[in-house]
């Protein structure tokens, strides 16, 4: 599996694994029902502790992206598209929230912010 661990990032290693596997699911590189490598095999491949990989798989399973069948392995589940969209929507919401907070903290009013938003929107839809 093509996972790159950034050892100098402050982002926990298991989170890096989770994000990259989700990314692969989203881009269709990992299809529905695809079998993920075993915990040990992936740990060996990316040179991290097996417990770290286990943690990543547990997180993916808790979020509904994979399912682990005892003795058979971990598989990509089917209901991912919606999960993904929901997740991305949440991320956009979070970023917008951040932008609004920033605007508030430097004293922009509603109108200014709304104008700016429209401007950015137009700029981006043009290209």
């Amino acid at each position: 599996m093509k996972i790159i661990i950034n050892n100098s990032s402050f982002q926990p290693i298991y989170e890096q694994i989770v994000i990259q596997i989700k990314d692969m699911i989203m881009k269709g590189e990992l299809c529905e029902n695809a079998l993920l490598p075993s915990v040990r095999a992936l740990a060996k491949e990316i040179k991290v502790s097996a417990l770290t990989v286990k943690k990543a798989y547990d997180a993916l399973e808790a979020q509904g992206f994979i399912v682990t069948v005892h003795g058979k392995g971990s598989f990509v589940t089917s209901a991912n598209q919606e999960l993904m969209l929901e997740e991305q929507r949440k991320e956009v919401e979070r970023l917008l929230e951040q932008a609004v907070r920033k605007a508030k903290s430097c004293g922009m009013n509603r109108q200014e912010l709304s104008d700016l938003y429209q401007l950015v929107l137009e700029d981006l839809t043009e290209c």
């Binding site: 926990p12 290693i13 298991y14 040990r40 502790s49 097996a50 770290t52 943690k55």
Partner: protein, 279 residues
């Protein structure tokens, strides 16, 4: 897999008093300064020396009651044990076959070939790296369930070390475990699932490797910052020219709340150093 309970051993003024557990499927690192007791613990686990009190059990069996046949489940690299230099690898194969019915001659010779070890040459003519590699290959050649490896990578360059670590990763299955010591902390970071640290005969630190890499940190705090610095998550502190060097198990907290304090990830070396030198 392995349970060491309160083993005690006295050597002059040195007193060992230590407990540790290794579950199945786990690679456990074991670090500590020279003379801290690592080798004594490993020899106790293997039943080569007997502690004055306490217990060592492997898969529920008391080490003192284990027969030679049962002890075939150990794969061992000890720093001061080696084969006679006038033997060739082919000679050693004959010995291994007699000692270990599960000796996988074909696989072993295949690996020798892969690493360009000349099986017909006397091993005294091997380089340090080749000898070390041979010892590891032998340890994993007879389907041992518990590998006890004392400094298997000592004195080796980064390329050979990387190869040895990869061999060990490949060897791991859920029914096998490894206990390994190394003075090269970086090796343990990418190999081990958890880590024990021993100092003056006592275990002073235990942590799972992913927690260690993901949550532990080093804070560099100036004298001025120190006064208002929340020390709740600080484990050890060491005085430095610039102020204080601290080990924390919650770097996120300090990253979030102390923008002006330098916070870094903690390596195994950092932890060893601060546990030893810090207060």
């Amino acid at each position: 897999m392995l349970k060491v309970e309160n083993i005690k051993k006295q050597y002059g003024s040195f007193q060992l008093d230590c407990s540790l557990t290794i579950p199945k499927g786990r690679i456990t690192g074991f670090i500590g300064p020279n003379g801290a007791g690592k080798t004594t613990v490993m020899k106790s686990i293997l039943g080569l020396i007997f502690p004055e009190s306490g217990n060592v059990s492997i898969k529920g069996r008391d080490i003192r009651k284990m027969t030679a046949k049962e002890r075939q489940m150990f794969g061992v690299v000890l720093s001061d044990s080696k084969f006679c230099g006038y033997f060739t690898i082919l000679d050693i194969c004959k010995i291994m076959k007699q000692m270990y019915p599960h000796f996988q001659k074909g696989t072993f010779l295949g690996q020798c070939e892969r690493f360009h070890l000349n099986v017909k040459e006397e091993i005294r003519k091997f380089s340090t790296g080749q000898k070390a590699l041979l010892h590891v290959l032998l340890a994993i050649s007879h389907e041992a369930e518990l590998l006890v490896l004392d400094e298997p990578t000592v004195g080796l360059d980064v390329v050979v070390r990387d190869e040895i670590l990869d061999l060990l990763r490949s060897y791991m299955e859920d029914s096998r475990s490894i206990l390994i010591t190394s003075h090269i902390a970086g090796d343990l970071e990418t190999l081990c699932d958890d880590l024990y640290m021993i100092q003056n005969g006592r275990i002073v630190f235990y942590e799972e490797m992913d927690v260690l890499l993901d949550h532990y940190g080093i804070c560099k705090v100036t004298e001025e910052q120190w006064r208002d610095f929340d020390k709740e998550f600080i484990i050890k502190t060491k005085k430095e020219a610039f102020g204080y060097l601290c080990l924390t198990k919650n770097r996120q907290y300090y990253l979030k709340n102390y923008g002006s304090v330098v916070v870094e990830k903690a390596s195994v070396d950092d932890i060893l150093l601060l546990m030893m030198r810090g207060v």
